[in-house]
Subunit: 432 residues, 4 copies
């Protein structure tokens, strides 16, 4: 079972040209139900409303991360005759392929509203009663746990962890290139082939040969640009806010005993915070979109309106919120003004601060889960990247926030609201 395929299989991939599969284990994992499910979960959640090309799935990305990992191991062997033992080689490849398997539909909104945790679900899928688990166990009984340990960053060999989760890991390299390709922006492009050539295993981590410093610098800037140009785009964030409000409204209606046109069977375990592995695996984006279509016809005004907004891209506008973040009163007053004109602020005023996202912009040396990048200097010593690069230094360690308050401008301007209250709201939100 755990052997090489008789003949190599390939997938045509727009980003890496071809994804090469030579191990039966990998081929079987790709065919597993839980992995095929990633075809039904988009990589970039709501970004497609802004960048219409960004319709690619996590299936796409997961294959890409696997392929990068495969190339890293190949480079290590060819270039510096460094090879892992067979089981650790399979561990690296499996962990790369499986690292996102716990993601749900519109992950970020889901996690915020329903308090699910995709990393926890990844672990449960790997070690639970699943096809993926049965395939992994064929390598050895504790193989699924080892894969989970790598993804959970508790595995005994930190070198392998750093290939999967560091500031310059296979995951990040793939998503930058892939998201750049599908959005059609150029910001995330960097010379991956060059970087693969200069990665080196060094004691318990992966480091970068100093000659590759500028290539890595370019990668860090690519990452920085993608965050500000793509991932934190205001239209995308607005769609996220609306989506969260929809989920909150549906949940609140459920608890109040509201009678839905179509019972939200798939959502009830989430509403009740009591969900089995099987129920979780049933959740995908077509399911969410199916309910959303139904909710566009619900009699509840708020659920219906929000769902229609999401479906037809009639989103909220934003006001800068940075300086107000600490001021509870200011927000309460806005809430009050909204209530005065008949708009429920619970569902129609959304604060969004993208640095809250589980993505993190490069933070060198900071506590946290991602190791910094070290350069391997000519004298054989290591030097942390931001010490050598003024550009990286300039953007490292600085968490940037983008606090915005999202609200339905069209409601304010629909001509049915008290003009002086609307004027006051607009003044406070600095609507021009």
């Amino acid at each position: 079972m755990v052997g090489r395929l008789h003949e190599e299989k390939v997938f045509k991939d727009p980003v890496h040209r071809y994804v090469h599969v030579r191990d039966k284990l990998i081929w079987d994992l790709i065919g597993a139900t839980e992995f095929q499910r990633l075809r039904r979960i988009r990589q970039l959640g709501t970004s497609y409303v802004t960048f219409h090309g960004a319709e690619h799935s996590r299936f796409n990305h997961s294959l890409g991360v696997y392929e990068i990992m495969r190339r890293i191991l190949e480079q290590f062997e060819q270039r510096i005759s460094f090879a892992f033992l067979e089981e650790e080689r399979l561990l690296c490849l499996s962990a790369a392929l499986m690292h996102d398997i716990g993601h749900g539909p519109f992950s970020h909104s889901f996690e915020k509203v329903f308090h699910t945790d995709h990393e926890e679900w990844t672990r449960r899928i790997l070690v639970g009663d699943t096809q993926v688990n049965r395939i992994l166990r064929k390598v050895s009984p504790d193989f699924p746990h080892k894969v989970a340990a790598i993804i959970g960053k508790t595995y005994e060999n930190p070198l392998i962890i750093s290939l999967i989760s560091s500031q310059i890991d296979a995951d990040r390299m793939d998503y930058l290139l892939r998201d750049t390709y599908y959005t059609g922006t150029n910001y995330g492009f960097f010379d991956m082939e060059r970087i693969l050539r200069v990665l080196r295993p060094y004691e318990n981590k992966v480091v970068v040969k100093h000659t590759g410093m500028h290539a890595v610098e370019d990668y860090i800037v690519a990452r920085y640009q993608m965050y500000w140009q793509v991932y934190f785009h205001r239209v995308t964030r607005s769609a996220e806010v609306v989506l969260r409000k929809i989920f909150e409204r549906a949940r609140d209606l459920y608890w109040r005993g509201y009678k839905f046109r179509w019972e939200p069977v798939h959502f009830i375990p989430l509403f009740e915070q009591d969900i089995t592995l099987e129920q979780y695996l049933d959740l995908d984006e077509p399911t969410v979109m199916f309910y959303m279509s139904e909710w566009c016809k619900e009699k509840d005004d708020i659920l219906r309106d929000l769902s229609q907004r999401f479906m037809n891209r009639r989103l909220f506008k934003y006001a800068e919120y940075g300086e107000r973040v600490g001021s509870v009163e200011w927000k309460q007053e806005i809430d009050e003004l909204f209530r005065e004109i008949g708009i429920d602020p619970t569902y129609y005023l959304g604060v969004d601060s993208p640095s809250d996202l589980p993505y993190d912009v490069y933070r060198s040396g900071e506590d946290g889960d991602k190791m910094p990048i070290y350069l391997l200097m000519p004298d054989g010593g290591l030097e942390e990247l931001s010490k050598c690069s003024v550009i990286v230094e300039s953007i490292s360690g600085k968490r940037r926030y983008d606090h915005k308050l999202y609200y339905p401008l069209d409601f304010l301007e629909d001509g049915t609201r008290k003009p002086h209250v609307v004027r006051e709201i607009k003044r406070r939100l600095r609507v021009q």
Copy 2:
């Protein structure tokens, strides 16, 4: 209402870099519910099971066709000072944007099984009670009908029809480039910019300046390659066959009074061949996928098995069928053999002949709906392309068929069937 936007809007597009919108009409059409619905229908149906990058929607493609049309008109103006009247300019742009609006989910399978016709639905959406209709009517009361007439190829000015539907129209140029980009293949690439430079309005059609002959030749070959490498790919076709069998099984069960776990509300109007515009617009791919997920748990063995096959990419294998096409007995004998080992051939044997598809490989001068391509020669006369190009001549007018018989090889080999019958089937299907 029908004017220029205060400031041009753009969409970032990976294929054309930017899609430019300057007319309020176009901006409003893009925002219409019926157009946003195209985000939920994939451009290439089941191709994503073969080419994982091919997850792009018809929304994507429709914007692209619009942009190419916009550039053609711009070139006409800038290069040869040819301009349509304002209403005809808007007609060209609207028809380009709207040409696919009637497509349903997995269009080709749907049309085969449920006898829907996307061109008819396009017409109904344009002239029926829809947002799109209300927006178009702001130009003039008969504007929606004119758009429909262009798409239906009955409009009085054939020059405009040829921009939308000819052997080298905005539709084809976009889908070749776009499908190439998203699949990651290179076969569909050609130099569109060059072609746009050599298109010329000539009496009642668009022709190509003779200096562009080789560029057009390249486009025709690109098209030919895409059909054989991408659109007719056997894995994709196998997924189509399985999908059709699923729809047929669900329909047959419905008519037999089968009790579904989850009533197929959205499908019933299709099963009953009596569907309203509103019901049709409710159908999208998330809806189909939602039912498919449910059907994976149905008690009916056939519906459940087929649905699981589709979801988990456990598809049918194929046997060459070309020489057998005419032989009813041969097929009946195979059916019989399948029955003998307990496999229902109605749902487990599928004939597929992709040239049946409504796509047609370039056929010069043949009767049919697509005009041939004419070159504008130095002496001012016209010459049909295949007269000038040996390459085009070699592939024109020849309809190629790719008859295949699809069947579940895994069933035959599951060890539960009578060995001598299985052997006989394999012999006849030439399974190696």
Copy 3:
């Protein structure tokens, strides 16, 4: 000496991204004087006057051919565990790198006028008293002769010959991609990575697995397009004609005892058809251009005028000549008319028929030096490509000629010539 480099070296290459060098032999050959000289000879001769990007050298291309050969051998090893003996591996790589080393400046014009033969010079450089020879001899005393035998197609192992010279060899694959890249056209692009994956050694030749048929088809069309769009471009051919006339005039002046401003030391051995290896190696394009600059100031009207034409891109126009090719009288009458108005037809009327070029458009199965392409069919047999592909069939075996007569239209129209003769010439040449 003949070993692996301590650390792999790479060249950044726009076409193949990186050229990888792991053998000391290859590294040393690249550094040899005779190979560095290829930096001073353009790959596409006079094409740069038409496509200003086409300024790349044969050095560029030779590295590319080497890299493709290296990848073919790597694929053979990785994919089907086929490996040559070490010496044959080095032979393949060396022959790929060296295959163009005998080229002189503006090769085609040179060979026509001075009857040099770059293949003969390649052989002399490999086996003569050169740095290249001394480096090759370190492998074994007869190694240089073996390299020459491969390039001369007399080597005992035809499999290796077919990697270097067949209808789908490393040389052609590189020049199509490279010339496409530098000219900025897209015609020569094809999916090389796919082709490398389907090449197979089969008895005494390289064949193509049948699954790669369409990729090879695409390559053949790419080649066809490049010939007609780039290599045979009329402006380029005109520059060739002018260049040949310059060389002829300079030679004729030399034999008449003309006193040059600057003695054409480097050309005299060519004029006298008696040239040593050292003298040949001294000839490069800067040398030719240096003389050309001087000739722009010569007192001889013809040499000066032609040189200025070449330098300042004031080239000849062309008349179609196809149907006249066989008619000696027609040409003699034109010559006579030119003489009547004081233009010497020897230097101002040039016939050009590009299929005379040592390039040949794909000819399947024809006698000659390039083997046809065979497909390896599922049943293990071989099938010649044009038997399977209607496109290839349509362009194979047909030699296309592009006969043109080039002449200085500006002279005819300078207002100093007898009007009735000019009129008659224009009528016969069909000048509009």
Copy 4:
């Protein structure tokens, strides 16, 4: 004379796809002898020894700058209805095309050794007795002076100057994209189309709409990367040093009355610092390379050795020199040690400090000739870029030096030198 062409002409350009020419003036300027001469001068001097693809000429680049300028003006017209008067439009286009016309072969080395100044020569070519001048004068008698004034930054309308020479001008945008393309690196890539969309004329300069901030940031980083990865590459710089030493040696020999094998006719005016316009225009890279080939056979050991080094890429190695820059004694001692082992430090020790180059890395607001970049903020005010971007701030205003000492390591190790002196030199230069 000064009108539109009957039909637009295009050049195929790999970077901008097409260069469009609609004005007869521009067409004629491109055909002028002095402009065609730029075909014989490489854009990146000695970079081709490092990046073999970098063989493109200044002709290439000049067309590109013109095309960008044309697009900027087109955007201004289409997007914000801003148009220059006809003469100023032609001024912009002509200045863009002509801005590099004064460059000589291997410009930087030439200017260092022979104290020529390409800006001064540009002016002389524009206003002197040249074809270019005669063509420009057809617009108006003082038109050539106006073009020269724009390039010399003394023209009365600073807006036009800022289009040609600012921190984000047509010149820089072209060379980054072009040098990236031909070297095959990716560092210089940025989204030019986006930047062209956000440029705005604002009083007397060009500014950038604030929405384009990240695109400009990306451009600045691209520029920074190109300097450190490409323009200051050590192998390139080494070739520069060797080239300068060759010129110095040839000049010194001339003044000592040395009898050259081939009298350096073209160099004598440079050696004597007394050169006419005609003599200057005769200098191009083929001429320099021609002499270099001859010098490879000179009897003078130093000139011959240095020339062979340059021709065969046998360059100098480098030692870090940064901390020693100010120490005259340290350098004198190294010189002395070289003399002790028979190597003349005048020609075999070269200091190189690339920030001395006339390129300047982005310096915001510093005195000098390049204006900083201003963002046009939502409130209509301007903000200097580095105030808004931490990345730009991190690299602005900081001149980085890369002081290196280049020397022939192979000489030290040829086994003929006193070992203890060689050891001492290696110790001081820290050769490992």
